[in-house]
Amino acid sequence: MMHAFESIQLAQLAFPTEMSTSVLAPYLFVSAAMFCIGLVGFLTRKNMIIMFLCTELMFQAAGLALIAFGRHHLGADGQTFVIFVLCIAAAEAAMALALVVLLFRHRESLSASAWKELNG
């Protein structure tokens, strides 16, 4: 049990040792759980702002999985990809929130079902 309490090893001080799959698995599970919570939120909530927050939650889960896999392979690619995920998330947030403001001005409502007639 003692090794579970080992101090946090920062890469700045010493390069981390290899990470086994048994350590990787719980991180992946948390990532999957967060992703699905975000997905369910996107499907159920009516408020557009909360829907977009839930997509951010999914981005976050993807980032966690990328970092965990990158750590497992001792490479920096996972972290590099998280930078791009952040970049896309920022772009998405800007566009989505501009859309929310625009749609709110038209209907005076944040409900996604206020735009039902757009269903093609």
Binding site: T17, T44, I67, L74, A90, A93, L97
Partner: protein
């Protein structure tokens, strides 16, 4: 490779989580107690699953995740459930910051320090502030503290049971697929020392600086560079460094520093590796990211611009005003000529 966690236990946990989510989702009749019970149920189910994974690993003699992983995981999952179930968007946004901070803790445990702090700065600092601004800009009629006054948009979820079931199936599928395949993951291609220091070969100036600081380089000496690639002549596995004396443009002497001389400070840290990887391996991605951000900025500006409807008379007045301005300009420029 056997399954890491037995499928039956996994599906039970997922079902428990789905029930918790269905309970926690907002609806008209639900009380605060229901919500809290739901959140606790989901957190407990998923946290318990993570704990089970760790305990199973420790039974088999495999390493467990760091102890601090568990509090971070609980907070991350609990806060993300609150993000999706809270009736008031402002609280959702604040709980999202909590999720971010918990995942930053996990990033640090995964020795991605730079990304952890970048995440706090960008997400909690920039993106969430944008969200808060929009929540303030686009709010419906103000309501009091009571939940009864909330609009249907916030107080009622669409198809909570169905969506929870979908979530349950998704978690079950994703985790079953992941844990089935995790045994086939290839081992890291690099050894630990190689992974830590392979980037140093590409950073001869940094090596120079560290060696100078450690007092290993006399005046005029530097690390030998490969004539073709410009890489530093370091052997990471044997821990030897070749240095050379430069006089004018020519190398007049070379010497080999052996393992005993290898300074402890000579190691690539997280930012070195990340920066080198970003700039050396993915240069086009950076350009693309720049274009995407620029386009998003433009698009957001165009979308959120306010269209002001002027009446005909006002439009005419505006046009006349602009017209006189142009006339004035012409007259004045004519005068000068």
């Amino acid at each position: 490779m056997e399954q890491i966690i037995s499928p039956i236990a996994l599906y039970l946990i997922c079902a428990l989580g789905a029930a918790g989510i269905a309970l926690a989702l907002p609806r008209r009749a639900s009380s605060k107690t229901f919500e809290y019970v739901g959140v606790i149920l989901v957190t407990a189910a998923f946290g318990f699953a993570a704990l089970l994974l760790g305990l199973k690993a420790s039974d088999a003699g495999n390493p467990m995740p760091n102890f601090f992983f568990y509090p971070f995981a609980f907070v991350a999952i609990g806060a993300s459930v609150r993000v999706m179930t809270h009736k008031r968007p402002v609280y959702s946004a604040l709980y999202f910051i909590m999720t971010i901070i918990a995942s930053c803790g996990m990033y640090i445990l995964l020795s991605a320090e730079f990304m952890a702090f970048a995440l706090i700065i960008i997400y909690a600092g920039a993106i969430l502030i944008t969200y808060l601004f929009v929540i303030m800009l686009a709010t419906q009629a103000p309501t009091g503290d009571g939940d009864d006054e909330l609009d249907d948009v916030d107080a009622v979820a669409r198809e909570p049971m169905l969506a929870s079931a979908i979530g349950f199936v998704m978690v079950g599928l994703i985790t079953a697929a992941m844990f089935g395949g995790i045994g086939q993951l290839p081992d890291s291609k690099m050894t630990q020392a190689q992974a830590a220091n392979s980037v140093l070969v590409n950073l001869p100036k940094k090596v120079d600086k560290i060696l100078e600081r450690e007092g290993l380089l006399a005046d005029g000496w530097r690390v030998s560079r490969d004539t073709q690639t410009g890489q530093a002549m370091i052997d990471v596995d044997d821990r030897t460094i070749q240095i050379e004396l430069i006089e004018g443009d020519t190398v007049s002497a070379t010497r080999l520093l052996t393992t005993d001389d290898w300074p402890d400070a000579l190691a690539a840290d997280n930012i070195d590796r990340l920066g080198f990887n970003l700039m050396h391996d993915h240069p086009i991605m950076i350009e693309l990211a720049g274009v995407i951000l620029l386009m998003a900025m433009l698009g957001a500006t165009v979308l959120a611009r306010k269209h002001t409807e002027l009446e005909e008379a006002l439009k005419a007045a505006q046009a006349r005003k602009l017209g006189t301005m142009f006339d004035d300009d012409e007259e004045s420029s004519g005068g000068h000529a």
